[in-house]
């Protein structure tokens, strides 16, 4: 397979490990890098994308039922109202 030359910077510890491993196995450092990249690519392809279902139930705190979903405009209006929570959290008004 045709190869393309490239250059990369490695942390000293990682470079030392790579050199040691190459010596131990009797192969080049580049060969280990190619193996690692191939393995990474396989694992990435096999790793399922979680999908939007990953947000379901992310907030699971005890307490009474809420209806924030149907009060978005109202809640944001309150939060950003003059002297509202946003102003207080950002020191624009004193706590009262």
């Amino acid at each position: 397979m045709p190869m393309k030359k490239t250059m990369m910077y490695l942390e000293e510890e990682m470079h030392a490990y790579l050199a040691q491993e190459a010596s131990r196995r009797g192969i080049s450092m580049a060969e280990i890098a190619r193996e690692a990249i191939a393995q990474y690519r396989t694992q990435s392809a096999e790793r399922p994308t979680p999908g939007i279902a990953a947000v379901i139930g992310l907030i699971d705190t005890p307490g009474p039922p809420t209806n924030d979903a149907e009060r978005v405009d109202e809640l944001l209006g309150e939060y950003y109202a003059p002297s509202g929570a946003w102003d207080r959290e950002h020191g624009l008004v004193g706590d009262s």
């Binding site: 994308t49 999908g51 939007i52 139930g57 907030i59 209806n67 978005v72 939060y79």
Partner: protein, 139 residues
Amino acid sequence: MVLSAILDTSILIAAISTREQHHLQAAAVLREFGQGELTLPITILSETMSLIGSRHGVSLQREVLDRIMASGVAVLPVGTQVLARAREIDGAYADAGFGFADSTLLACCEELRVARVLSLDRRLACYRPTFAPGLEILP
């Protein structure tokens, strides 16, 4: 069959929090859609992030954003053409009181020619798209 739908803030908020009254409905409808089938206008993402940040704090806000970004949902930029369309919709449907975020969502429906919206906001059903007889609002 490939489904396509646009996400609204209300469906995300209801799905994210188990305490929400419509959590189970919202969760069920989100599970019906697979990779590449959902679009989230950037304005709706912004509104969702604002609400979660204000109600639950920045840590959960970051967690939600991370999961949305990893989910494969297409986040749709809103440029000047879509904003102009949104302004037209906002004016034409002033009585419905859609407001900025909902108007941009409807403009995105026009832009993508997608007539299905995942939302708990039934007001959106009064919008008449130019490319379809009406909007399908799920669940």
